[in-house]
Amino acid sequence: MIPKRDNAHWLNDLQSPGEARESALSDLMSLLQRALPAGLSHWLSPDNPLFEDLIADVIQETLMRVINNLHTFEGRSQFTTWAYKIAVRVALNELRHRRWKNVSMDGLEGGDENETSLFEFPSTEVSPEAAVERGDMLAILQRILAEELTEKQRAAMNALMLQGAPLEEVAQRMGTNRNALYKLMHDARLRLKKRLAREGLSIEELLDMFSNK
């Protein structure tokens, strides 16, 4: 039975030297041992031989981060929710890295240039006039993309939006961090959105065009 502690008790025990601290760490470890499998079983089967080692590694890293970042806990949530949040970040970063470490992402690391296949519109239900109109629109959009996005932004968008790669992994390969990459992508999206508005192009109409009706 793990004793219930409120936030003040968790902080007090973890900051006290000796037995109180050891006991609090041991209790937090037990809570993580119970909760992590519920979260991670959606990522890795508990039958996988790597599962137990992963849980052990995540707990160890989480406890270290919790101790090192106790001063940042503001008490706006339960202490255990805050600790779980740290464990989730540690665990998913590790799982994402394992899953993506051998996947190449063109244009991010100066590696091989693979031809990406083109997106093809279904043509059967489109009248010739509509097809011409759509072709013109595509030419405009492709010109806007070429003018507004840098090569790195395009490569990052390809990895994120087409390959479904995680931000953390793309950021690492670009020599940046996840937060900065999100900002970079937000700036690019915003610039494109404003350019489309200046060109008088409606996003709703463009969405219709790409909806594969």
């Binding site: 119970r34 519920a38 979260g39 929710t81 989730v88 993309l145 939006m161 931000l167 999100y182 959105k193």
Partner: protein, 91 residues
Amino acid sequence: MKHFLDWLKQIFSPPLQTDPLLPPLIRSLADTKERELTCDEVHALLDQFAEAVRRGEDAARLMPLIQAHLDMCPDCREEYETLLHMMSVPD
């Protein structure tokens, strides 16, 4: 006659092709806002957001910027969902 010519054009015209990035990019532009929280800002508030959801509060309305980021960012969304799974385990 005109219909016949149109039909021929349609049969023999190559399918329209474009940059494969365009469809997902245009979809993401529809949800792009002038002000968006970053991943770090969302991470700092994710525990409060998840607790509000667990209490049955309308967290998306109370913290719309967090909800907008979770809708836009698959990494943060995965972390939020994993956190909720962990919180569902009784102490």
